[in-house]
C-alpha cells in the first residue's frame, strides 16, 4: 500500500494554529485528569497497603476487625502474648510486642484555639519503633515516656490542615487544653503513620481516661501467624482476634473502594467529554478538507493511506498534549498530599501513573480521529472534488 509521506501529516498540523491549539489543550486537560486520578488512587492504595507488614500480627478486640480505633483489649495482653505465643521476634532479649492506643483527637495549636481538626494519635512504647521499622525520626528526638511530648509525622500538618511551621520541633499542640510539646518529626513514607502524631502510651491513656489498649502489634520471628491465631482461639476469655497486619489494611483498602470508583468514574466521564470534544474538532477539520481527500485519492493514494495520514495528525497532536500534561502534572501536582479519614497520603507519580496518562492521550488521538475520517471517505471522489 502506498502511504502518504509522514511530513505531510506533520505539516498539516500547522495549517490551522487554532485547531492545533484546541487539540493540544483538550488532550492536555484530559491526560492531566487521568494522571491526577491515577495518582490519587495509587497514592491511597499504596499508603494503606504499605502500612502493613507481612511479618506483623495485630491482636484486636473481637468484633473490631474493621477498625483499630474502635477496638479495646486488656492492658495485660502484651504480657500474656509474650508468655504464650511461640516464635515472636526478639532482639537483645526484647520482644517485638507493641501495645498501642489509636485515637482520633481534636488538636489546637494554641491554648485558646478551638480544636477544629482531628489527627490520629498513637500512644506507643519504644517497642513501636521495632514493629514499625518504616518509622524513622528525621528531626529532633523521640518523646520521653511519661512526659507530655509528641512526635509528628511528615503529613500530620496536611491532615490537620495547618501550616508546617505550627508543627515544627519546639512548638506545642493542645489536646483538651493540655499542652504537648513537639520534640521530633518522623517519616514513614507511603503509610498511614506518616500523617499520625505519636506520644507516650501511658500519657495518652491518662488523657483519654482509659486503661485498655486499642491493639497489640507483634512481629513474628520463627513463629507464624497461626501461633498468634491459636493463642486468640485458646484464650476465648480475652475476646481477641488475631489478624495479619496486611489483611487489616487490605480490608481498609476494600472499604475505600467506592471512593476509588467515584474518582475513576469522574475521570472517565471527563475523558469522554474530551473525546467528544476532539471528535467535534476533527469532524469540522476533516469536513473542510473533503476536496483535499478527493484530490489525494485521484492521485492514486488508497483510502486507507489517507485515513492513516489523518490518524497520524491526530495522534501527534494528542501525544504532544499528553507529554505536556505529564510535565505539568509532575511540576504542579507532584508532592501534593490529600487528607482522608485515616490520615493523609501523597499523590503517587510513578511509571504506571504517567504511562497510563500517556496511553490515554494516544488513545484519545486515535479514537478522536477515526470516526470523522471514515465519514469523509464515504463520499465518492467525483463528489469530493466538486465539494465547496
Amino acid at each position: 500500500m502506498r502511504l502518504l509521506p509522514f511530513e505531510y501529516a506533520v505539516r498539516n498540523l500547522g495549517r490551522s494554529r487554532l485547531r492545533l491549539t484546541m487539540s493540544l489543550l483538550g488532550s492536555t486537560l484530559v491526560v492531566m485528569l487521568v494522571i491526577a486520578a491515577t495518582a490519587f488512587v495509587r497514592g491511597m492504595e499504596r499508603s494503606l497497603v504499605q502500612s502493613g507488614s507481612r511479618h506483623n500480627v495485630v491482636l484486636l478486640g473481637a468484633g473490631s476487625e474493621e477498625s483499630i480505633e474502635r477496638s479495646e483489649v486488656k492492658a495485660s495482653i502484651p504480657g500474656q502474648a509474650a508468655a504464650s505465643i511461640r516464635g515472636i521476634k526478639t532482639r537483645l532479649g526484647v520482644s517485638y510486642i507493641s501495645p498501642e492506643v489509636h485515637m482520633a483527637l481534636g488538636v489546637g495549636t494554641s491554648a485558646a484555639e478551638e480544636s477544629n481538626s482531628q489527627a490520629v494519635f498513637r500512644g506507643v512504647t519504644p517497642a513501636a519503633f521495632m514493629v514499625h521499622p518504616q518509622v524513622r525520626i528525621v528531626e529532633g528526638r523521640t518523646f520521653d515516656p511519661g512526659e507530655d511530648e509528641v512526635i509528628v509525622g511528615a503529613l500530620a500538618a496536611t491532615r490537620l490542615g495547618i501550616s508546617e511551621d505550627k508543627l515544627a520541633v519546639g512548638q506545642s499542640i493542645w489536646l483538651d487544653r493540655r499542652q504537648w510539646k513537639i520534640v521530633g518529626r518522623f517519616s514513614a513514607p507511603s503509610t498511614v503513620m506518616d500523617a499520625e502524631v505519636w506520644c507516650p502510651l501511658v500519657n495518652l491513656q491518662i488523657l483519654t481516661k482509659r486503661d485498655s489498649l486499642s491493639c497489640v502489634v507483634i512481629t513474628m520471628g520463627e513463629g507464624e501467624f497461626a501461633d498468634a491465631d491459636a493463642f486468640a482461639a485458646r484464650r476465648v476469655d480475652l475476646e481477641l482476634v488475631a489478624m495479619r497486619e496486611t489483611d487489616y489494611y487490605g480490608k481498609v483498602v476494600d472499604f475505600y473502594r467506592p471512593v476509588r470508583m467515584m474518582v475513576w468514574a469522574t475521570a472517565v466521564l471527563i475523558a469522554l467529554g474530551g473525546i467528544f470534544g476532539g471528535l467535534n474538532t476533527m469532524y469540522a477539520a476533516f469536513a473542510s478538507r473533503v476536496r483535499e481527500i478527493g484530490m489525494l485519492q485521484s492521485l492514486g493514494y488508497p483510502r486507507r493511506a489517507v485515513v492513516i495520514c489523518f490518524v497520524q495528525e491526530s495522534v501527534l497532536a494528542a501525544a504532544a498534549g499528553a507529554l505536556i500534561a505529564a510535565a505539568l502534572s509532575l511540576l504542579l501536582l507532584d508532592g501534593l498530599a490529600v487528607r482522608f479519614s485515616m490520615g493523609a497520603f501523597g499523590l503517587v507519580f510513578d511509571g504506571p501513573t504517567i504511562g497510563l496518562g500517556l496511553a490515554s492521550g494516544l488513545l484519545l488521538g486515535i479514537i478522536g480521529s477515526l470516526p470523522p475520517a471514515i465519514r469523509c471517505f464515504r463520499m465518492q471522489i467525483t463528489e469530493a472534488l466538486k465539494a465547496a
Partner: protein, 193 residues
C-alpha cells in the same frame, strides 16, 4: 511513508510510553495476603501438614456429655471430659495450619439460625448476647505426643465444618482463667443431621 519515517513514528510513540514506564518502583511493595487471611502463610513459611491420628474421628458418640458452662465452673487440668458442642463461636472457628477450633455448647440456642435470620455466618453466634455466649464458649485442640498443637487444618477434612455438631472426648488443658477452657481432644464424633 518509507521505512525510515515508519521508524521515526514508532520511536516517537515508544518514547512517549517509555517516559511513563521507566521508574516503575513498586516491585518491593508488600502485598496483602487475602482479605480472609485463612490460607496464606503469615511469614511465608510452609507448614508441614501432619495427618490427624486415625482414632481422632469416632464412629459412635461418647456418652456422658457435660455442658461447657458446668465444666468451666468445676473442671481442673487433666480431667477427662466429654462435651456436645457446635463448631463456631467466632467468624473463623478454625485456625489455619493448627488443629484448633472454637466451639459453643450445643445446648445454647443459636439466635442466628432460623428462616428469618439474616446472618450469613450463623456459626459465630453473633446474634446471641455476649454474656450468654462467653460461658458456653470453649476451645478444642488436638495435640501430638509432645503436647504441642498439631500443625494441621481441622477443616481440611470434609467432616468438620463450621456449625457442625460434634461430641468431643478429651482432657482438660491448662486453665489460666476460669472462663477459658481448652480441651485436648482424644476423639471427635461428628453428628449427621
Amino acid at each position: 511513508m518509507n521505512s525510515k519515517q515508519h521508524l521515526i513514528l514508532a520511536v516517537a510513540v515508544a518514547t512517549c510510553l517509555a517516559t511513563g514506564l521507566v521508574g516503575c518502583d513498586n516491585a518491593d511493595a508488600p502485598r496483602t495476603s487475602g482479605a480472609n487471611g485463612t490460607k496464606t502463610g503469615g511469614t511465608g513459611k510452609n507448614v508441614a501438614a501432619a495427618a490427624l491420628p486415625a482414632s481422632t474421628f469416632l464412629t459412635e458418640a461418647p456418652s456422658g456429655a457435660v455442658p461447657v458452662s458446668k465444666l468451666k465452673a468445676s473442671a481442673k487440668e487433666g480431667d477427662e471430659v466429654t462435651v456436645r458442642v457446635v463448631v463456631g463461636g467466632r467468624m473463623k472457628p478454625f485456625v489455619a495450619d493448627r488443629a484448633i477450633m472454637t466451639v459453643v455448647d450445643a445446648g445454647l440456642a443459636n439466635e442466628c439460625v432460623g428462616p428469618d435470620a439474616p446472618c450469613k455466618t450463623p456459626w459465630d453466634y453473633c446474634c446471641s448476647a455476649p454474656e450468654q455466649l462467653k460461658p458456653n464458649l470453649a476451645t478444642v485442640q488436638i495435640v501430638d505426643a509432645t503436647g504441642a498443637t498439631m500443625k494441621v487444618d481441622l477443616n481440611a477434612s470434609a467432616k468438620l465444618k463450621p456449625a457442625a455438631t460434634v461430641v468431643v472426648r478429651g482432657v482438660v488443658g491448662p486453665r489460666p482463667d476460669p472462663s477459658a477452657l481448652v480441651i485436648n481432644a482424644t476423639g471427635i464424633f461428628v453428628e449427621t443431621k
